[in-house]
Symmetry: D2
Amino acid sequence: MTTIKDSVHDYIELEPTAEALLDTEPMQRLRYVRQLSTVQFVYPSANHTRFEHSLGVYHLASEAVDRLSIDDDLAHRLRAAALVHDVGHGPFGHQTEAAIERHLGRHHDEIGWLLEETELGDVLEEYGLDPDAVAATVDGRGPLGELVAGTLDVDRMDYLVRDAHHTGVPYGTIDHARLLYALEIVDGELALADGNVATAESALIARTLMNATVYRHHVSRIAGSMLDRASERLLSDGVVDPERFARLTDSELLATLEEYEPTAGFADRIRNRDLYKRAVWARREEVPEECRGLEYDRTRNLEREIAEIADVDSEHVVLDSPGEPSSPESRARIVVDGEPRRLEDRSSLVSGLDACAREIWRLGVYAPEDALEPVREAAATVLEIED
Amino acid sequence: MTTIKDSVHDYIELEPTAEALLDTEPMQRLRYVRQLSTVQFVYPSANHTRFEHSLGVYHLASEAVDRLSIDDDLAHRLRAAALVHDVGHGPFGHQTEAAIERHLGRHHDEIGWLLEETELGDVLEEYGLDPDAVAATVDGRGPLGELVAGTLDVDRMDYLVRDAHHTGVPYGTIDHARLLYALEIVDGELALADGNVATAESALIARTLMNATVYRHHVSRIAGSMLDRASERLLSDGVVDPERFARLTDSELLATLEEYEPTAGFADRIRNRDLYKRAVWARREEVPEECRGLEYDRTRNLEREIAEIADVDSEHVVLDSPGEPSSPESRARIVVDGEPRRLEDRSSLVSGLDACAREIWRLGVYAPEDALEPVREAAATVLEIED
Amino acid sequence: MTTIKDSVHDYIELEPTAEALLDTEPMQRLRYVRQLSTVQFVYPSANHTRFEHSLGVYHLASEAVDRLSIDDDLAHRLRAAALVHDVGHGPFGHQTEAAIERHLGRHHDEIGWLLEETELGDVLEEYGLDPDAVAATVDGRGPLGELVAGTLDVDRMDYLVRDAHHTGVPYGTIDHARLLYALEIVDGELALADGNVATAESALIARTLMNATVYRHHVSRIAGSMLDRASERLLSDGVVDPERFARLTDSELLATLEEYEPTAGFADRIRNRDLYKRAVWARREEVPEECRGLEYDRTRNLEREIAEIADVDSEHVVLDSPGEPSSPESRARIVVDGEPRRLEDRSSLVSGLDACAREIWRLGVYAPEDALEPVREAAATVLEIED
Amino acid sequence: MTTIKDSVHDYIELEPTAEALLDTEPMQRLRYVRQLSTVQFVYPSANHTRFEHSLGVYHLASEAVDRLSIDDDLAHRLRAAALVHDVGHGPFGHQTEAAIERHLGRHHDEIGWLLEETELGDVLEEYGLDPDAVAATVDGRGPLGELVAGTLDVDRMDYLVRDAHHTGVPYGTIDHARLLYALEIVDGELALADGNVATAESALIARTLMNATVYRHHVSRIAGSMLDRASERLLSDGVVDPERFARLTDSELLATLEEYEPTAGFADRIRNRDLYKRAVWARREEVPEECRGLEYDRTRNLEREIAEIADVDSEHVVLDSPGEPSSPESRARIVVDGEPRRLEDRSSLVSGLDACAREIWRLGVYAPEDALEPVREAAATVLEIED
């Protein structure tokens, strides 16, 4: 077995399949995609990549299948799926996800096409794995697919701890070893063993606090919204083919944006952290329900409307209205008195955490510093934001 | 300045007053009182002492007074109070607290008598400090006494992080530096600066999760209840004077219990972790309201009644019914839109965490392994525990 | 499998034999023997015990035997030996080792008598282990006994990392996982695989730096020398039987010293860290060869001679002249170009580290603060110390 | 004061000058230059950047000037120099250093031109600092310039600890706080206070061990040598202007190499970690003296000669012969008995560590996997390498 040293899990042992998968271009590309995309503009040490995260998820999957005594073939598939689970991510990960979905109609968890079009599929077959089954697992489907993408998946166990290590924000430091120890298979599905309500809650809490301080930090959101705006332009104008877009690295996207005049300004501002500022930053209760989680076309129309009223260039208004928060972890199964239950049915914390998530929700309207005042006023009018 | 190396805060700088205080017997005694008393029977690496914790609290108090630009005299007093804040703890800290209160009528935060009777008071005076003012501060009274004992005190900031470091349970690892940075004085009282609801919640969450996994672990509670029972006997029988009792170290208490025949068995069982087991471990809703948070006399009577029905020695029944959980942190002040508010009024999490605390509440009845069955039945009858 | 949470290795899995061994009195006693005895007087957070260290050594032994694919029976024995390897330590570990050897003629690694006289031997037999074979393994003899006590043993791998974690001094933080990965059996003996000279050196470096900053710190040595002096008196005067002495806990020894008038002063000074100071602290080259590593009787005679000349009580002079430093790690076997070699034959660092060890060697003469001057002068004369 | 959270030093406080400097393009560019360039191909979590490292160095400089009570003006300059000390680094830092020096005649520590040509100089002046004085400080010249670039500089204190944190290799974890505490100014120059020989040695040891396991790892060296080769071609062929080259980011260099046909192959191999392998990896004593630390022209000639004999494309031979190792830390000043001395004159370890450095020295000849055998043979002949 080859071993790789990781700053989070120390030594990670790689089976031959894993080594071969790592040597493919789609996996190597993940060295150039930051795990937390624009969060580095807030937490400058958050430069870890989806490559090292993938190794971590592989490691936890290996530990899990050993503990759960899963049969060799399924274990082999689960480990491989864990390793490649992020190859579908575009540049800057979640920050270009929406643009890619609009133009490709594909979520990053749907990686069947990548397995087909790249050497990844060949390598899987060479090592006796069915690419379709692996792709299904990455998408959370098929036997124990939930171990890779589900309410108790090893993806989350790795990223919380890794993001904490690299941002320096301790809230993500969950007891991932305990989560692994507590995993059981009940009626063919994953569940946490009896006595682990607090264990399950801790993961949900960790994500809630990391959302509040890291993942949803306004600086990261502003940079992300600017990226989305610029990416959309690139794709709509046909400058880059969507499939190629989806396989760019972070830097390649920035370079591509810089080379196209209509998006060069955004790219330059993002690269140099010369970001738009918040003209509006409104709480959930201040925003009319129809303005929460806006469709893209509607967003663009509103931006134009605001720009017109404010009398600024329409590129100078970026509207960012996220959907309602969700917490898949609250549906995690947990054994209580011998019966598997949903966490949300057994924990008094879940509703509090849901409320928390709603509390940190914000609608943002971003603009260059010198346009803040008119944009603020126009946006308040257009979006009917209450004071 | 002298510096001391600490495993949690790295180097701690000591002013001359602190050095002189550390050289007194009451402070040196804290080297022999474990911070987490009986928790080491569950988490074997939890052997840190109230001595190192006191240094940590002193360190955080020093940082806080610097940041808050508190005037020299008050800062001097606050630092001294932080350093000596735990001298009033008896052997095994909280586990003998109730027994000491019953016999001395004094809580561990009331240290006036100690300052008077030991060299501590003299040292304080020698360095220009008023022992009464220091004692008041330790008790949370007087100007900014809440920094040492209050809803945002440095005591909690240290112990959560330190207990996490030594148990290996990560939940206590709060961002204490951020709490310190966020401290402000508003209308003469401490508050967290605007934008810190999540910071405040994180401390409350940390304690809730540490309660569930560490502080209220049943093995620690059983050992603690056995200690309380044996200590009471020692004091009631007049074997040790209460004032002397309160100043024993952990080991001295065990030795004293071992030398007195009626308590020797308890001591031996505790020392060798040959503890009673749980005959009853009932949730809040299974226990009649009048059986929650029982007075000591009532507890003893119920124990005797249970023993009689179960036909076992009355020493073989230990009833442990804690009071209702409380969360002082939920009353922490936090600035929101320029106004200081109570955390509980601004956070949707507080009620969830309160519910959590109620959920992990348990009434325990403990007995030797061979008496579990009869004690369980008798206790169910006597305490009217529902199934 | 039962698991225990450890602050250094996270979860440790215990086989039934280990659980049964832990439940014995000799193992539970280790909860009350600090791993670093008097080091806590310098590094106040160094309160970890030989109990948690024993769990750590058991854990590393388990990992090692798995990796080395050692057969079940031998693996079982090695794990058990790793767990009990420290039961032979007296109170304050190494600090009373010399006194115990003088009076019992036994080193702490010889635990045959303990296995015979306590329940430990019975438990071993009950689980199919031969106590004599286990005792031999603890002493580094028999098949792979060197894994428990040798130049590449798991004892050292645990204590360096654990002592670093608890003192806060980072030098001990070796890459113990790499050491484990590199272990091989060559001709029936342990060796590090090819390419691991730096790995082996790092362990030697770590111990050298920990010696300089932690293990040989003068404050710890003074407390230790005072303990040795007092312990000798206790044993010579027949106050405690040597076998009982060897099984006291740290606190029990202090209490015993306090109860015997001739040693009460020492005990009180140690407990309250009111230690003697250095009247002499001489480098190796300043000390005549015959004064290095003195026999006990000779030490006592010199102390009396110094006291007489200085005109102070002979209890007020403590002479501490350690033997020549040794570094077993330098004889560790390491594969180079396919052949096992001694580290010292392959590493240019070993001689430098040996020189380092000689450089930090010191002869100390300790005395109460008010007797320092006369003792210094008298000692210089008696010991012929050069300036 | 603004604060930034760092994964190594926790909160870092920024004065206004620092904030303004951070907002310049040359500083923001460091977000896109990995601190350990090609080491990520060995340690996949080593993705930290020169941006976060610069913040760390600024932080340590701030602490140092506070402790040393340096006057405000000089302190201001030292902090600014610490922050910008790495702006002169080209893409992939040290890996393109030689190519840049060949074409620009400038070392990365010479940043005067950058201060002049970019907004950095203006910002310095705006905040009352003399750009020339700052540039001199970055180069280790002028009053206390050695704090930024010298034998006891804060650059090294940060990078050792940071590289350890991100690679997971513990050897770099020095006690940087102790180094800071020990700093003194003696006769206008930095020195470590009395009693710190081990402190000084520990930093030297840390770098030696990090060299062996991290910085000089062969995989990183191969990638670096390939980069140097390709960069030279780019510059020699005039594809990129040297000044522009020196200011590319890592990704921009890769992209530029990919776009130029003669270097595209190298770029592709580097990006996808499809690196050349070692045809030769010779120890110091196997290599004739004249082949150690070769000039560039000589290197190129030898490569061509080897390629010709081996009958392979000359692009398929990369020769990598580093110069003799040096250890500036060994000349660090340290106070011994009141007198400042050089560490190398007081430490028995220094010569051992120098020997270590010579032992890990290797000459490498790298080639594609299918050309290894002929290249090995040809290189052995041409370079007269002994077996």
